[in-house]
């Protein structure tokens, strides 16, 4: 077998191995031009279509992501603005409430102080009246006791009329 193969090789040895064989060119041309036609009309278009579709999808997704990011940025800014407004409003409400509470507290304290002062004045007046009433009630008895005590010390009768002014003066001084 080896000898026959070498023999076959020797048969073609006479040709220049660099020069092209017409039959090889024939089959090569058929193969290449068929491949070119197939690539152009059958093989390449669906591949390019799916590649373009993928590129479009990716580009669309990127654009959508950019738009969403922009929307998110504006929403965040809006929320931030609203938050700042709410904070300012809340601070204003707190200040107003604090001022109102302060005024109310001052009014309540003023009213209470006035009421206490009034009660105090009433009590003082009542005490003074009670005292005066008590003094006027005990003055004759005190004068009588004092005249009796003084008479016993002096061994003579002290009239109540002379003791009464002295006791009245004493009691009035002791107030």
């Amino acid at each position: 077998m080896i000898a026959s193969v070498i023999l076959a090789a020797e048969e073609v040895e006479a040709k220049n191995p660099i020069l092209p064989e017409l039959s090889e060119m024939f089959w090569g041309a058929i193969a290449f031009f068929s491949l070119w036609a197939l690539v152009k009309f059958v093989l390449l278009p669906p591949v390019l279509n799916v590649m373009n579709e993928r590129e479009d999808r990716i580009r669309g997704d990127l654009d959508a992501a950019d738009a969403a990011r922009a929307r998110q940025g504006s929403a965040a800014s809006e929320v931030s603005d609203q938050l700042a407004g709410s904070r300012a409003e809340a601070a204003q409400i707190v200040d107003a409430a604090r001022a109102e509470a302060e005024a109310e507290r001052a009014a309540i304290i003023g009213a209470a102080e006035a009421e206490v002062a009034s009660m105090k004045a009433d009590a003082e007046a009542e005490i003074a009246a009670s005292r005066a009433e008590a003094m006027s009630g005990i003055a004759p008895s005190v004068a009588e006791v004092a005249a009796d005590a003084a008479g016993r010390v002096m061994n003579r009768q002290i009239p109540l009329s002379s003791a009464q002014p002295v006791v009245d003066r004493f009691l009035s001084n002791s107030n």
Partner: protein, 263 residues
Amino acid sequence: MFALFAAEEGGGGGLQFPPISNLVEWPNYFGDGTIFAFNKIGLISMLALLIPTGMFLLSKKELVPRGLQNIVEGAVEFVDKQVIQSAIGPDGRKYMPLLLSIFLFVFFGNIFEVIPTFQMPANARMANPIILALTAWAMFIAVGVKAQGFSGFMKSSLFPPGVPKALYLLVTPIEFLSTFLLRPFGLAVRLFANMLAGHILLVTFGVLCIALWQKSALAIVLPFSFATLVGLTGFEVMVSLIQAFVFSLLTAVYISLSLNPHH
């Protein structure tokens, strides 16, 4: 394979490197003596058509790519970004079918260099590089004529601006040779020579490994030779990809020059 057989046959009598024709010429499967003669190169050309076609047809077309779809879209995106956008710009998208076809056809024609039982790049024969180079040549001329008109394209190609008129006697023939003959010739020979060199390199180390295996005293260096063979095989995978990239990129550059001659 011829090379390996030859080395095997000559194993008893020392290292015998097979003639170059044994490395690149293959017996026909059918059609002997006709233009339809079909050999290993024709088979690889057909596989370079069928494999990418199958990959494109079998890959799913989903928004989230997985598996084979990643490879297919990776190839399309590579040609778009690294070839079309870098050489032509956004206007070059309409040349995507041609440039992608060139890239895939060259790559799958090359990669059979490292696939066991094939171990031959289709582009180590001159046939396919010539077909591809002539296609690129016809394309950039057609694009130039369409973009600038016939006279405009010929003027921009043969009479570069800024050259003193007297020098056109010298410059115009050079430009003609450069643009209309050397461009396709360079495209074809660059691919052919690179792949043939890589093929010969791999065969050389393959033959060397076999010869060393049969020589007991020299078998000690066999691991190094084999490691080099494995390394070169990996290198050829890279070369296959680079050559496909270079061929499609140069085609794109020529198209770009036809579209915008002053850039």
